[in-house]
């Protein structure tokens, strides 16, 4: 492999890894928002 390819590949791996973790955090946040919305609608039903 050419040196430049290796350097670009190493940087791409690092950015993809961190990006992947950010995507995981975003997905988890979306799931938490859904769970919270379900709880809120259940609470509203009980209040109503």
């Amino acid at each position: 492999m050419e040196a430049l390819t290796v350097v670009v590949l190493a940087n791409a791996i690092a950015w993809l890894g961190i990006g992947g973790y950010l995507a995981f955090i975003t997905l988890s946040q979306r799931r938490l928002a859904q769970r919270l919305a379900l709880l809120e609608s259940a609470a509203r039903r009980i209040d109503g």
Binding site: M1, A3, L4, V6, V7, L9, A10, N11, I13, A14, G17, I18, Y21, L22, I25, S28, Q29, L32, R35, L36, L39, A42, A43, I46
Partner: protein, 231 residues
Amino acid sequence: MPPSPRHIPTGSALAAAGGLALAASQWLVFRHAPVEATMGLTQKIFYIHLPLAWWALASFLVVFAGSILFLLRRNPATDAWCRAACEIGVLLSGLALLTGMLWGRQAWGVWWTWDPRLTTTLVMWFVYAGYLVLRGLDMPAPRKRVACAVLGIAAFCDVPLVFLSARLWRSIHPAVFASKGGGLEPEMKLAVIACTLSMGLLWAGLLALRTGQIAQEERIETLEGLAGQDD
């Protein structure tokens, strides 16, 4: 500091600032720092590999300190910091291993060798990956927190070995700052410092973001438990 969902916007801002700073420091890496005489362009991997490895070790130090604090005070908030720090540590050390393998292929002609630094790092990665597996097990939360805290303390035994392995044993892995001055040109040193600080900002952001999210998750779980009791 007790984690709360309020950490999420702070963490997002820190992570964004860190990401931008890390992207900007690439200018120092590719334009300002000279090409190393022996390794050539391949040496540039060092500017991403070193910050990844150092902040992974910092994450495990947080797990260690947090685990001791948890066992002393039994505060679930401390446990949330440990969980987030371990996830980030496993991610960063995994990325450091992968970027190191690319370096190794170019510098030593092999993807992997059972060198003391590489071996202790791989062992560390597996031990902390095991910690995350333990986190995922279905067991009562208080018991799981204690088990994780004990493992978080025991696992740290390998971290000083990783750091000192290149100095203690005959290792082919370069010990960057072992000799006085580190053998780095001032421009290279500036690029390393910029990349390390930027990665630190990103690390702090990710840690705050994930810890805030874990705090939110635990609150929702408590509410779901209460709602379940009402039904």
